[in-house]
Symmetry: C2
Subunit: 118 residues, 2 copies
DNA sequence: CAAATATATGAACATATATTCATATATTAG
DNA sequence: CTAATATATGAATATATGTTCATATATTTG
């Protein structure tokens, strides 16, 4: 409202904005991308994923490993399952979780590189 | 594979848990890692970063590009600045933002690969 | 069958967060 | 100097989210 015409015409870099706009992905892609990162935005979930990159683990293992209640672990695993970040196999009563694929570890490794800089 | 070690009450794979525990990063690393991903967990911020990977842009540009108020853009840019994901240069009244380094684009690209799978 | 075990889930609560609005700061023009 | 402009920021609000607690489901064992 404030700066429709005057700002747009004089100060916005109209050509650049138009060019970049053409290269933007769809709204849906960005939402799904953000949702993927959202699955990684919690320390407990990152720990779970990192641990699973080292070994497949059952809920009970993860709970003991991270000192988080089994219920909390189960809730977090559901988030990770929904985002197709982890898969599982059942062996009797025990459910073993592991990473869906190598992208997940690649993502975390990239994040670690950024964190470790400076 | 023995399941119940004598010293644990619950059914835990004690050896595996201990081995994985030794390889875990510090609490601080995981928190910073999660914080990094948290900066990417919002559609608006992902769009901003993706746009900045195509071209440096001022606040006004981003606002027009994404149809988000300049105030909202500014708030989000602060988050990205705090996580050292974007840098800026001032030219008079105009502040031009760009990505800090190539890791950021690498991270987003990895995320896109995961999103684009099936 | 019932009891025990491993995991999953719904509800509730407390905390975190994104946007809006109003205002502040910084820079340039006149 | 004042006015205008580009961006930044604090407060408020509405929404989202993580954990806990209680309970449910599924599987094995006796």
């Amino acid at each position: 409202m404030a700066k429709n015409d005057s700002c747009s015409i004089r100060l916005v870099h109209d050509d650049v904005v138009k060019r970049v706009k053409r290269k933007l992905k769809s709204e849906e892609i960005f939402v799904r991308l953000a949702d993927t990162f959202k699955a990684l935005d919690d320390p407990t979930r990152v720990k779970i994923l990192y641990a699973l990159s080292l070994n497949e683990l059952c809920v009970c293992d993860i709970s003991a490993l991270l000192d988080v209640s089994e219920s909390a672990v189960s809730h977090q695993l559901r988030v990770l399952r929904n985002m197709r970040l982890v898969k599982f196999r059942k062996e009797g009563r025990i459910v073993y979780y592991s990473l869906c694929d190598d992208h997940i570890l690649a993502l975390i490794s990239q994040g670690l590189e950024h964190v470790n800089e400076k």
